[in-house]
Symmetry: D4
Subunit: 205 residues, 8 copies
């Protein structure tokens, strides 16, 4: 709480039993909690015990209480090239929702079809922060960063094959981007992108 938010649980390497134990404590304290990287099978098991909980199977996000509509202003735009990156975009989206921050996902504005992106530029200018998600060669944040002045949080994804190297090429391309002032988070780390947007939005207060 020292940092303005509660600890979030990393679900990937925890057993169903362990997670159920942790959830029981939060229910007792009547608190909400966020768990990331909950695999499909484990998510379904948690839902069986916690019927009103929320689980998104694309991203593996689990929350005891879904938080909808609590921020009408859409502060963060989450941009991605297509439906392949939806899991990562959702991880960012639901984490922001959990933190009480309005967000919106804008799909299908990739580099291969540049005109679709150029047509949306004025829309994109309205967000405080842009989270730009991209796999393959990861060129999208570079292009967006050359066109728009907001803080840009680039998220490389592991989509692609061969020299995509499970996201390492996109990651390194984003870090060495010739656009100015882009910051980067770990491969597939939609959660981290959301948390850094949260830190930045403190500046508005």
């Amino acid at each position: 709480q020292r940092l303005g938010f509660d600890e979030v649980i990393y679900g990937e390497s925890k057993s169903i039993n362990l997670l159920l134990g942790l959830l029981a404590e939060y229910v007792n304290r009547n608190q909400n909690v966020l768990i990331t990287r909950v695999q499909h099978k484990k998510g379904k098991a948690l839902l069986k015990k916690h019927h009103s909980a929320f689980f998104d199977k694309e991203s593996g996000i689990f929350m005891l209480k879904p938080l909808e509509g609590n921020d009408e202003v859409k502060r963060v735009g989450i941009i991605s090239a297509g439906s392949s990156d939806i899991g990562v975009a959702n991880e960012a989206y639901y984490t922001l929702t959990y933190m009480g921050i309005g967000a919106e996902i804008i799909q299908d504005v990739g580099v291969a079809g540049l005109h679709r992106l150029l047509d949306r530029i004025e829309d994109l200018r309205t967000y405080d922060i842009l989270i730009v998600v991209a796999g393959f060669e990861g060129a999208l944040p570079t292009v967006v960063g050359g066109l728009l002045p907001q803080p840009i949080i680039a998220v490389p994804t592991s989509v692609g094959y061969g020299t995509a190297k499970n996201g390492k090429t996109a990651l390194h391309a984003m870090l060495t981007s010739c656009s100015n002032g882009i910051t980067v988070v770990n491969i597939d780390n939609g959660y981290g992108a959301a948390m850094s947007a949260f830190r930045m939005l403190n500046l508005k207060k």
Copy 2:
């Protein structure tokens, strides 16, 4: 200018003649300009023609007009563990100065001597943004990020040997930090850290 700032020149692979030609144009237009990564010998050659220009040999930053004292509020804290990372810290500092943003360098608060860092926590809380510079294992942003709530821009440096792998270990460690919401820029990229701080500070306006 579309992005609120002028283009900056990457000096590393440009010859003295080419740089002098470019500088002449800026002098004619009576504009200031920032050149990064100017090697020592080249910087001295530029200074010979432009006596009132500014050159920092630690970082290779060159500006036609030094901009001092134009922002009394120190908005950005640049933290590093010691004097080995001074070049990168200075690159961030002078870029911020050029952009008209007040900044301060805080040295000698490394992870090996944790108590010196803990003693400074309340001071560090006063900056809007923290740029955290670290080589070797790059643990400093993780520790700072666990203690303080501001936006944190982590800059890995190429200081170290062997498994430090010219900054790659610090880079990867920062990206996979278990502290929440840390963003990262390229190895030794003090310039990029400053530019992303500039983007974030727009949120205060």
Copy 3:
């Protein structure tokens, strides 16, 4: 035996039949034996024939005879940040137990929540040796090594994703730590950490 201990069997690439054959020999000689990296399914098959044997499914440690309580002094502290690294911590713990050395696991003292670690410092000072287990960016041994004077055996784990690179980032970070005199073993090698602690404790004799 030349080294003061019996050979330990590496179970990972041995078939159930081969392992049963080896165990039969030890039973005949009425000797205890340690097998490491026994996969869950194989461990259950071995237990069926050897009812009084011990098998820990988190770590894959198998022993013909469980050795409990044979050293009341807790000489080795095994520190980890959370429950994700429990398999590696257990591998160290049960190997030490097998060697007749008292040990204790201290969980939940990670870098992200530094104050929990600082609160335990005096407790941790009482162990002869500290085995520090960490995944993700692997910063924990650096922080512990800056605070405490004992021999520190750092064990990187393969917990994490993306730039965690299956433990390689934690490994390289630990090796290039700016804390003094930390030694390191292979990724996920709780067994090796225990064996090096055993060698070190010979110095007390």
Copy 4:
């Protein structure tokens, strides 16, 4: 000659004496010859003996006879983002000239200033083939490939630092580009790009 062109000499690891010996043979046979990767000092030594020869110090290209103006149609456009990649662009340009193919270099149309590129699209459409040279994150061929239908030969360069990894990031990004039908040559290989353009232009005959 089997392939429609003479052998070209790789100059990088040959001594001045060895190169002078080879050149003497070509002079005797009254033939032109192309040598690539001739370092500055070696190029000057060769020019001393062969006054009418051609040497470009940016690219290290050496030819016994300069071939100018032998193809008035500009078939190949060589695009790059700026002056840092000039050596590689020149290597492609002079090799094409040597092969009797008209070419043109178009600088300063990088991804960071996308509008300059968009303004030139119709010009670029007039070339038979586009050689696209880029360092740092190497996004330029992806953007060009999404806008124009010609054969695109992408040349990654070693310009950049840190995660640019001496051109490996740009190379891998170009290979995994989400634009369709881009082909790639080795890092800094302007020569290879020109030779593959030569092979492709045979299709016009």
Copy 5:
């Protein structure tokens, strides 16, 4: 369509439902469409709804309408060493067919049995373009490029083990080939090879 061809769908990370939705749109518009990298199970599910569609399980290529015999001239030769690379060769073949380009696969002309290749040289000379597919050490494009003058598109495959490194060794070998003017696409990227052949064949028009 800006580029003379319709968008192609990357099937690997799309669910059956999503793909069925997309296909329904194409059926409505009475258009053909190409989907790449459709896994075996997903391909069978799509065929159930679209009985007259085409699916090749070796390559994962799916088309709403099979296009056979629409170009009697065989413009592109697809060479491979053996049956291990058949999936990649087929991906190139069917993509070319979809684009209306005649192609032919020539198997069993590997480097290990050089005489079989030498016996076929005059046949191979008749194609406009050669796509050369090879795994293991990837030497085949080098040998073919030293013997024949056409444009050569080298496709490394992930066939092999150990130092074959899932195709990275073949890729890097092809890029650094001492044969002149070879261009390269991503590992296993038969699709990209076909698309670049398509771009090159525009030169014949």
Copy 6:
């Protein structure tokens, strides 16, 4: 001092002036100090001002006061295969001397001439701790660890070429050694080996 020793200065990236400034402070306080990784030229410059100081050009170790003969018992044996690794062996040796610990270097007991090593086994058994330094394939600690029961601190060196990969192969070989309980420090890190020996020798007190 919290850890029982003073801070040591990393000299590699500090200028002569900066180092002279630091030394002046220690002279004033009449304290000894250790600086590591002082390059040859810088070491000579420091000696000019501090005539009674100690500088070893093989290892780059600098001390204000040489400490000789302060521990007559030779507790640590530093083993290496030959004279190529002398710089790393000396770094360990002089650091131990500075810490007041008796040490001895044993050269020419490499793996290629195994009998010389076997002949020395009983001698080597007398040390409390063995620091084993090796480049190339780094097999020496594995062999020593299979023969002797003491704590073994393996130090990989960057001696070798090609697949020695500047010490990375030796490092990884030592970490994955099939001898039990070997611990490892960073490449060329004689200093770290000495500091970890210091921590271990506390166990004797």
Copy 7:
């Protein structure tokens, strides 16, 4: 046959149907044939049709006719440290048998228990050629090469975890061995080791 042996089939990426087709041809011609890397399930399917064929499930070696006892002199010794490397040792052994060369496997002479190896030295001296198989740190060929004068073919295996890097560490260690004149084959390549032994034994004729 040009090389004195028939082509061998690489089974790993061929379907059961394809393999059955190939086998039928060999049966028709009444010829023996060797297939390598046949997975367990596929091997059993082949045996069903070819009852008198030979299949070794450890190595995946399949032969139409088992060839036993055809060379009474044991020319090649295949050394390994333990039962983990049995698959690779068998691949070498059965390939040699197929080629009509007598061979023998000597297990349990690893580096960790050096004395067992030293006890066997005179036995090992009787073979013409030594194939030395080792995983983990791969030190065994270095030790054997320092003790014995025969041709040594080192085979790294993918046994181990973490820094063993699937055999890459053993491979690189063997290549940079400080023992003289060791040659190396690909990771897990027992087949290649046997074939190179075959080439060498031609020298005896």
Copy 8:
């Protein structure tokens, strides 16, 4: 001498003084000695003291006594593509000469000009052993191994740029060659190739 040859000195990291000391001992004992990897400057210094010694500046080979013409039969053929690899070819050649083995260098038979190689096949068949030296993509041993039955020792060299990766690509390509029974030594290791040829030639005795 246990292995039939004297120890050879690795000169790369030894000072002139140290080498002169070692040479003096050999002169005293009236013995010849081989030193490898002697840098140009150091070689000239040694020659000043030892006028009748032999030094080859291409390879850095130094011998107290040149051994010419001591084996009239040319047993080992050393093949390379061109003059760039001459240093490595010479290292093999002079080492063989020192060991009393007749050898011959055959240059200019690279893969790019395959017909020159095919014209020489019958000549090459006369050697007992072939050492095949190649940089760039390293395809030469694969082609030679598919045509000739002798033992083949492949030596990758560090010649090339970009994806040649200082010889790593050639190394990995040779190890994963689809030609049968090729063995490989370290990058640029002409010395090791010669020593393994020496071991193999023992089989002829």
